[in-house]
């Protein structure tokens, strides 16, 4: 079936390093790809999205790259901080239905 999956379940980095979280997807009909951050005891929080016809989008300290040829999505976090420690999910959105499908998540741990 349609799915959004992640390559690595955990990522551990030092404060100040750049982090890269990867995601593979299978649904080519998605309109958007979205990254969410989920801290312990909280609901997912929107970070950044990218329309399916784009290759790159930048936000504040974050960049999302989309490679449709290999169906790969990545989230780059610059100068990672301890407050970035959380579980990161990629998700794909079928805009006409408003249906969000989440992948399994990557645990990011930032060491001071």
């Amino acid at each position: 079936g349609e799915s959004v999956g992640l390559h690595l379940p955990t990522l551990s980095v030092q404060e100040g390093d750049n982090s890269i979280i990867n995601c593979a997807y299978s649904n080519s009909a998605s309109d958007y790809f979205i990254w969410y951050k989920q801290e312990s005891g909280k609901g997912p929080q929107f970070i950044i999205d990218i329309r399916s016809n784009m290759d790159k989008r930048q936000g504040q300290r974050v960049t999302v790259l989309l490679n449709k040829t290999v169906k790969h999505l990545s989230l780059q976090i610059a100068a990672t901080q301890p407050g970035d420690s959380a579980v990161y999910f990629c998700a794909d959105l079928r805009a006409s239905y408003g249906k969000l499908t989440f992948g399994q998540g990557t645990i990011l741990t930032v060491h001071p």
Binding site: Y32, F89, K99, T101, Q104
Partner: protein, 112 residues
């Protein structure tokens, strides 16, 4: 702007008992979603409302789960009777536009 409110935050019940969760979306958000998030997994959509109408309930186990949004604002999700595998975090989200869903803190359900 107040976020999505959910209650209770935690609930412990025994199998075969009934339980209900409540959600108050962000004011003005016409679309409301209920998700189930099993430990270690991404959220899975259970049901989507547009105002007080159901848009998608294809993944809702209708033999035991029910949800309503009678006045197009608050919503309740009920499980009757609960099974052990229903132990999860139940997340409510709302959106004005389909691209960005705002999530509540969730209700953590433990079924013993």
């Amino acid at each position: 702007e107040a976020g999505v409110a959910q209650s209770p935050r935690y609930k412990i019940i025994e199998k075969r008992q009934s339980v209900a969760f409540w959600c108050n979306p962000i004011s003005g958000h016409a679309t409301l979603y209920w998700y189930q998030q099993i430990l270690g997994q991404g959220p899975k959509l259970l049901i989507q409302f547009q105002n007080n109408g159901v848009v998608d309930d294809s993944q809702l186990p209708k033999d035991r789960f029910s949800a309503e949004r009678l006045k197009g604002v608050d919503s309740t999700l009920k499980i009757q009777p609960a099974k052990l595998e229903d132990s999860a975090v139940y997340l409510c989200a709302s959106s004005r536009w389909t691209n960005e869903q705002f999530f509540g803190p969730g209700t953590r359900l433990t079924v013993l």
